[in-house]
C-alpha cells in the first residue's frame, strides 16, 4: 500500500508543473486560446521533448511503457494549468487504439511519430443521438478493393481540427469496427468548446480507411480506451479542483467585507471545509480509477471502478466548481479570473465521457 508517486512519476510531474508554471501561466494560456488554431505548437513540441507523448506507449516505439498511474501527475498538472493542447485526444484516445488494437505495421507507422510529437490524432465516434452510449453507431464501412470506405457523421470530436489521423468507428457486416482515416479524407467543422479546447464535427463520405483491430471486435477496445481516457480526466479534474479550492481559500482569506475577511464567517468556513472534503474524496477515486485501470483483473472489474470514480468526480466537479464561484461572488463570474475558466473545465469534465447518471446505470449493470 503506497499512495505516493514513485521517483520517476514525481520527477516528471514536477518538471511538467515547472514548465507550465513558467510558460503556461494564465496570461500565456489566454494568448494561446485566442490564437487562430487555439493551441501552441511550441508548447506541443516542449511536451514531446519532456517525453509526455511517449509516456504510455511501449519502449519498442520510443515510449516509456507507462500506465494510467504514470500519467496521473501529468494530468493533475494539466488540470491545474488547463492545458488546451490536444494531448488527451492524441495520447489518451487516438494513439491508444493503435497501441491496443493495431497491427505491428500500424504501430510502427504511427506510434513513433506520436511519441516524437509529429502526429496528432483524434477519436471520431460520438454521433447525433448516441449520447453516452458507446455501442450506438450509424456510420458504415464498405469494402473497397484492399481497403475500406467509411461514411458517416461524427460529432464533438475532441482535437479534430488539429488531428492528422482519425480513429473512426463504423459498422461493417460483422459489426462495429475501427478504422484509421487520414485528415485529407475528413471534413471537419471546427469549433471552440466551452472549456476553450478545439473540437469539431467530422463527416466522412466514402473516405478511404484502414481497418484497426479485428473486424466487428471494436466495442471492447472502445470501452477499454474510453475507460483509460476517463481515468485521465479524473486525474485532470483533481488538479483543477485543487486549484479551485486553493484559490477560493485564498480569496476568503483576503477579501474583506464589514471590516473583516469573509473567511471569518462561519457559514462560509463550513462550506469551504466541505469543498476540501469533496476534493479529498475525489482524489481518492482518481487514484482508484488510474490504479484499477492498470491492475484490474478483468474488464468488468476495471469498468466498475472507472464508473464509480466518474460518478464521484462528476458529483464533486459540480459541487466544487459551483461553490468556488459562489464564494468568489461577482469576481468569480468574470473572464478575468482563472477560477471562472476552471469552473468551465470542471463543468465539462462532469459530463465528458458520460455524466453521473450514465455511470450510475453502468455501475448498476456491472454489479
Amino acid at each position: 500500500m503506497n499512495f505516493d508517486y514513485n521517483e520517476e512519476q514525481q520527477l516528471l510531474a514536477d518538471s511538467v508543473r515547472r514548465f507550465l508554471a513558467k510558460d503556461y501561466g494564465f496570461e500565456a494560456r489566454k494568448k494561446i486560446v485566442a490564437s487562430k488554431d487555439g493551441w501552441s505548437p511550441a508548447v506541443w513540441a516542449q511536451l514531446a521533448e519532456m517525453g509526455l507523448m511517449g509516456l504510455p506507449f511501449s519502449p519498442d516505439h520510443g515510449g516509456f511503457g507507462g500506465g494510467a498511474v504514470d500519467l496521473m501527475g501529468v494530468m493533475e498538472a494539466a488540470g491545474d494549468a488547463m492545458l488546451v493542447e490536444p494531448y488527451l485526444a492524441t495520447v489518451g484516445l487516438g494513439a491508444q487504439f493503435v497501441a491496443r488494437a493495431g497491427s505491428d505495421a500500424q504501430k510502427k507507422a504511427i506510434l513513433p511519430a506520436v511519441v516524437e510529437g509529429k502526429l496528432k490524432m483524434a477519436f471520431a465516434h460520438t454521433e447525433k443521438g448516441s449520447r453516452y452510449n458507446l455501442s450506438k453507431v450509424a456510420a458504415q464501412a464498405k469494402k473497397a478493393g484492399s481497403g475500406w470506405e467509411i461514411s458517416g457523421e461524427k460529432f464533438v470530436v475532441l482535437g479534430a481540427p488539429s488531428a492528422d489521423t482519425f480513429v473512426v468507428s463504423a459498422n461493417t457486416d460483422k459489426g462495429l469496427s475501427l478504422f484509421l482515416v487520414k485528415k485529407e479524407s475528413a471534413k471537419v467543422k471546427a469549433y471552440v468548446t466551452l472549456d476553450e479546447q478545439r473540437a469539431g464535427d467530422v463527416s466522412f463520405s466514402k473516405a478511404p480507411g484502414e481497418m484497426l483491430g479485428a473486424e466487428g471486435g471494436a466495442l471492447p477496445v472502445i470501452e477499454e480506451v474510453m475507460d483509460f481516457a476517463t481515468a485521465l480526466i479524473c486525474a485532470e479534474a483533481v488538479g483543477a479542483m485543487k486549484f479551485a479550492c486553493d484559490t477560493t481559500l485564498e480569496y476568503l482569506k483576503t477579501r474583506k467585507q464589514f471590516g473583516v475577511t469573509i473567511g471569518t464567517f462561519q457559514a462560509l468556513q463550513h462550506r469551504m471545509v466541505d469543498m476540501f472534503v469533496s476534493y479529498e474524496q475525489a482524489k481518492s477515486m482518481a487514484c482508484l480509477a488510474a490504479s484499477k485501470f492498470d491492475s484490474a483483473t478483468d474488464a468488468k472489474d476495471r469498468a466498475r471502478s472507472i464508473s464509480a470514480a466518474k460518478i464521484k468526480i462528476a458529483d464533486n466537479c459540480r459541487h466544487i466548481s459551483q461553490e468556488a464561484i459562489q464564494l468568489h461572488g461577482g469576481m468569480g463570474m468574470t473572464d478575468e479570473m482563472k477560477v471562472s475558466h476552471t469552473f468551465k473545465r470542471l463543468t465539462m469534465i462532469a459530463q465528458q465521457f458520460g455524466d453521473a447518471e450514465h455511470h450510475l446505470a453502468r455501475f448498476a449493470k456491472l454489479s
Binding site: 452510449n133 469549433y191 473540437a199 459562489q326 468551465k344
Partner: protein
C-alpha cells in the same frame, strides 16, 4: 382557501396575455426564445410599446403614468410577461431611480427626469457596488466634493449592469468622510454618463457576454441640482429603494416557460437507451423535483401576495425566500438543459462561422455559466439568509 384566481383576476390575466400575444413583436419573441443577447434598441422597443399602452410602470402614481393595479394584478402582469418571454423591463429607471425621484425628488427633478424614464427615452444604470463594497455597501468610497454649484466625483463603481449603453447613472457617493457612522455622509447623485471624466470598462463574464462594467470617475463635475434628497442622506434613499416592492423576485413566469421548453426539448433528446430522454427516470426525476419546487414556490409567492393584499403591508423578509428559491430553480433549469444535450453541451463557438452550427444547443452551457450570477447578484443568497435569520427568525 382557493388557490385559483378570482373571476376578475382571471379576466385580467386573460387580458394581459391576449395583449402581449398581439403586441410582442415576433422577432423579439424569437430572440428571447433563442437566448440571443438583447441590445439597447431591443430593450427600449418593448419598453416603449408598454409605455404607450400605459403598462410600463404600474406602481407609479396615476399622474405619472401608473395605474391602480393591486399587488396581485402587478404580479399577474409580471408573470405573464415572464411566461410569454418578453424582453425584461430594465429596472434601473422604472423601479429604482423613478420611485426614488417620485419619493424624494423636487418638482423640478420630477419634471426633468420622470418622463424620460417612463417613455424609455433615457436609459439608466446603477452606481452602487464598488470593488471594496459588495455585500457591505455602506463601506463605499467614491467621493463627491462640493465645489460651488457642483460636485466633483472621484472613484470607481463596479458591476454596473448595462453601463455601456446607459445615458445616466444614479450613484451612491460619499460626501462626508469625517463621520464615524459609515452610513452617514453618503449622498444620492444623478450623473449624465456623457460627462467628461467618466470611463466605462467592460467586465466580460465567463460566458463571453458583456453585461456589466466598471465605471471610473475622474474629477467628474456634477451639477448640485442633481442631488436627490439632502446631502448626507443617501442611505435613507438607498434603504427606501431596497425596500421598494418587487413582485417578481421569484421569476416564476420565466421559470415556467423555461421548464416547459426544457420538457419539450428533453422529449426530443435521445437517452442512452435510445428512448426519449424525458422517459429516463434518472433525468426525469431531477426534472420533476425542480418542477415540484417551482409549483411550491408559485404557491408560496401567491400566499405572500394574499397576505400583502390583506394586510396592506409591504413584503418583509419573505422576498428573500423568493429570491433564494427562485434563483436556485433558475440555476437548476439551466443546468438540466445543459445536461439534457449530453456530449453536445461542449461546442461553444464556431471557428469559421459555420452557418449550420447549432447556436441554440451551443448556448446552453454558457447560459448555465451565466446563471451562476443569479445567486450572487441583487444581494447574494448568503446575504438573503442573513436577512431572514435576523428579520424573520430574530437570530
Amino acid at each position: 382557501m382557493d388557490l385559483n384566481y378570482s373571476q376578475d383576476e382571471s379576466a385580467f390575466r386573460d387580458e394581459v396575455r391576449g395583449w402581449i400575444k398581439q403586441n410582442l413583436p415576433q422577432d423579439l419573441r424569437e430572440k428571447i426564445a433563442n437566448y440571443d443577447e438583447l441590445g439597447r434598441e431591443d430593450l427600449l422597443r418593448w419598453h416603449k410599446i408598454l409605455a404607450k399602452k400605459g403598462w410600463v410602470a404600474p406602481a407609479w402614481p396615476k399622474d405619472f403614468g401608473g395605474n391602480d393595479w393591486n399587488v396581485v394584478q402587478r404580479y399577474i402582469f409580471e408573470e405573464e410577461c415572464g411566461f410569454a418571454g418578453t424582453p425584461p423591463l430594465i429596472p434601473f429607471g422604472l423601479s429604482m431611480c423613478g420611485p426614488v425621484i417620485l419619493r424624494f425628488g423636487t418638482p423640478e427633478q420630477k419634471k426633468r427626469f420622470l418622463p424620460g424614464i417612463y417613455n424609455g427615452d433615457v436609459f439608466w444604470c446603477q452606481g452602487y457596488s464598488e470593488p471594496g463594497s459588495g455585500s457591505d455597501l455602506a463601506s463605499l468610497k467614491t467621493k463627491a466634493e462640493r465645489q460651488g454649484d457642483h460636485y466633483v466625483v472621484n472613484g470607481q463603481k463596479i458591476w454596473t449592469t448595462l453601463g455601456h449603453i446607459a445615458d445616466w447613472i444614479f450613484c451612491l457617493v460619499r460626501t462626508d468622510s469625517t463621520l464615524s457612522k459609515r452610513q452617514e455622509g453618503i449622498s444620492f447623485l444623478l450623473i449624465d454618463m456623457k460627462t467628461p471624466g467618466i470611463t466605462v470598462r467592460p467586465l466580460i463574464l465567463m460566458d463571453g457576454g458583456h453585461e456589466v462594467n466598471e465605471v471610473f470617475f475622474d474629477n467628474v463635475k456634477v451639477p448640485a441640482e442633481n442631488l436627490i434628497f439632502e446631502e448626507g442622506k443617501g442611505w435613507t434613499v438607498a434603504k427606501y429603494l431596497l425596500g421598494h416592492e418587487r413582485m417578481n423576485t421569484g421569476r416564476i413566469g420565466a421559470s415556467k416557460r423555461e421548464l416547459a421548453k426544457l420538457k419539450e426539448f428533453a422529449a426530443k433528446q435521445t437517452g442512452d437507451d435510445g428512448k426519449p430522454l424525458i422517459e429516463d427516470s434518472r433525468f426525469r426525476d431531477k426534472l420533476t423535483r425542480v418542477e415540484v419546487e417551482l409549483m411550491a414556490l408559485e404557491i408560496t409567492n401567491l400566499r405572500f401576495l394574499d397576505q400583502m393584499r390583506r394586510s396592506g403591508q409591504p413584503p418583509g423578509a419573505d422576498v428573500s425566500m423568493l429570491k433564494i428559491k427562485g434563483t436556485e430553480i433558475q440555476q437548476a433549469l439551466t443546468e438540466l438543459s445543459m445536461q439534457a444535450v449530453g456530449p453536445m453541451a461542449q461546442p461553444f463557438k464556431s471557428v469559421a462561422n459555420d452557418p449550420d452550427f447549432d447556436e441554440f444547443t451551443a448556448g446552453l452551457a454558457p447560459r448555465y455559466c451565466n446563471f451562476r450570477k443569479t445567486t450572487i447578484y441583487a444581494g447574494s443568497n448568503e446575504i438573503q439568509r442573513n436577512i431572514i435569520s435576523k428579520m424573520t427568525l430574530g437570530l
